[in-house]
Amino acid sequence: MTDGADAAPLPADEPGADLQSLPGGPRAALEAVLMVIDEPATDVELATALGLPVAAVRTLLEELQRDYDGGGSPDGTPRGFELRSIAGGWRIFSRSDFADIVSGFILEGQTARLTQAALETLAVIAYRQPVSRARVSAIRGVNVDSVVRTLVQRGLIEDAGTDPETGGLLYRTTSYFLERLGIGNVSELPKLAPHLPGLENLADIDDSDI
């Protein structure tokens, strides 16, 4: 994307060029992005994606913020979510007034123990890190998306950059994981080689089918 998007007229194939023609226009486009991003996005990032000047995006962000806080409703009723800017990044959160209800919902059905599926996925990540979800999925033979999310949420694994080849996110274990397992370092994990003859060529096998 171009940096000069805010100055020059946009070429037809730029995002933003036809934003006006989409239902809801640039404002809805901004909402779409804000609704699904996990990490807070800066106004510059948002402006780049939308192909709009940063100042315009900032205005839209403030408008949305007011809208969610009640400005969008005839009687000033706020929405159940709010748009907040934290450390320079924007993200939508549940409104703090409802924290009790939200935490009740989250704690419902939460267990303090990891499921067998989560443990196995964690084991694969521990021994293959840094590793992509697709790879773990191939090794485990099932989709691991939600389990990986749980492990991240539990602080046992974390983002370790992207795979230069596939562009997929890589995961590695955290120091909290080491702490729980009672070791100081990943190299202290028991060696697997004796149980796993031919582990070396496993890589070729799993990857071929993804």
């Binding site: 996990d38 989250i106 084991a123 090794i139 729980r180 397992l181």
Partner: protein, 305 residues
């Protein structure tokens, strides 16, 4: 969709990606392969009028062109083509048989086999169409991204402290188990290929040798006149090729496309099938040669019974 029928729909269907797909050029038809199938299945075109050999030749050069242009989906289309072509071939064989009047159980069986082939073909086409619909749907849905953000810090802090009871050794065992190369999961023992008893090429070679040594030159027709089914004919044909390679027989053909006569040129009595190559030892000839034809045989049995 229903009223349009397969023929009308076919042109839009072939490749979801909008690739042109395979076109057939025959004397009596030019157009997409799927349209040809549609016409045949709607009985608007007689399968006996379709030169399958030419369709096949065209398909081969089509896939060659694809491969040369670096398109990797040729294999996919090729395997599909094989299925359909094999079914069409069976269908054509069934069609070429007289159907004017139904005289005995065998005729009924043939008719039923033919209907089954149509059914199979249409079912195949139906799933292809559904798959295209599904593909479009998946693509449309992929344009919507679900909100699945990580837990807000204030809520994450509320999660109960994780109870961890897995020892280091158990954890390693789990990893070893998860990383172990998986043995393929059990699948059914395929029975489809067992419909006909296996026919040994060597046994058939012994029969041929005996007849030729005893009765002088015989035509291929005569050598296979008593064959119970196609499998035996094929096995005898393969046996002849083997024996020719072993230089114990010779072929004579008076005129092009004339009868093929086989005569014994080998030693009088001490030739044995043991001398034939090992190639067919453990490879009994499968029941149906042109691909996957167990269904007609199955249907035949049912019809007769």
């Amino acid at each position: 969709m229903t009223d349009a029928g397969p023929a009308a729909e076919a042109p839009a269907e072939p490749q979801a990606e909008g690739r042109p797909g395979f076109e057939v050029r025959l004397d009596n038809f030019t157009g997409p392969f799927d349209l040809l199938l549609g016409l045949i299945s709607k009985h608007e075109m007689d399968i006996t009028e379709v030169a399958l050999a030419r369709v096949t030749d065209e398909f081969i050069s089509y896939t060659r062109r694809l491969r040369e242009s670096g398109q990797d989906w040729a294999l996919d289309e090729a395997s599909e083509f094989l299925v359909i072509a094999a079914t069409l071939l069976d269908l054509k064989a069934a069609r070429l048989l007289p159907t004017g009047e139904v005289e005995d159980d065998e005729d009924i069986a043939l008719l039923e086999a033919r209907d089954l082939l149509f059914a199979r073909l249409l079912q195949y086409k139906a799933f292809k169409q559904i798959a295209a619909l599904m593909g479009r749907r998946l693509e449309e849905e992929a344009a919507r991204y679900p909100r699945q953000v990580s837990l807000e810090p204030q809520f994450a802090a509320l999660l109960p402290e994780l109870i961890w009871r897995t020892s280091l050794a158990d954890f390693a065992k789990l990893a070893a188990k998860a990383l172990e190369p998986k043995a393929p999961k059990p699948t059914e023992v395929g029975l489809a290929h067992l419909h006909a008893p296996a026919v040994s090429v060597k046994e058939q070679a012994a029969i041929i040798a005996e007849r030729l040594q005893d009765g002088g030159p015989l035509s291929f027709g005569a050598l296979t006149a008593d064959a119970a089914d196609t499998t035996v004919v094929v096995a005898r044909f393969l046996a002849l090729l083997e024996m020719f390679r072993d230089a114990v027989i010779a072929f004579d053909q008076a005129s092009p496309l004339g009868d093929l006569t086989v005569r014994w040129t080998g030693p009088e009595r001490d030739w044995s099938t043991e001398r034939l190559s090992e190639e067919y030892d453990d490879v009994p000839v499968p029941a149906a040669v042109p691909g996957d034809g167990p269904e007609p045989a199955e249907a035949g049995e049912e019809g007769a019974g």
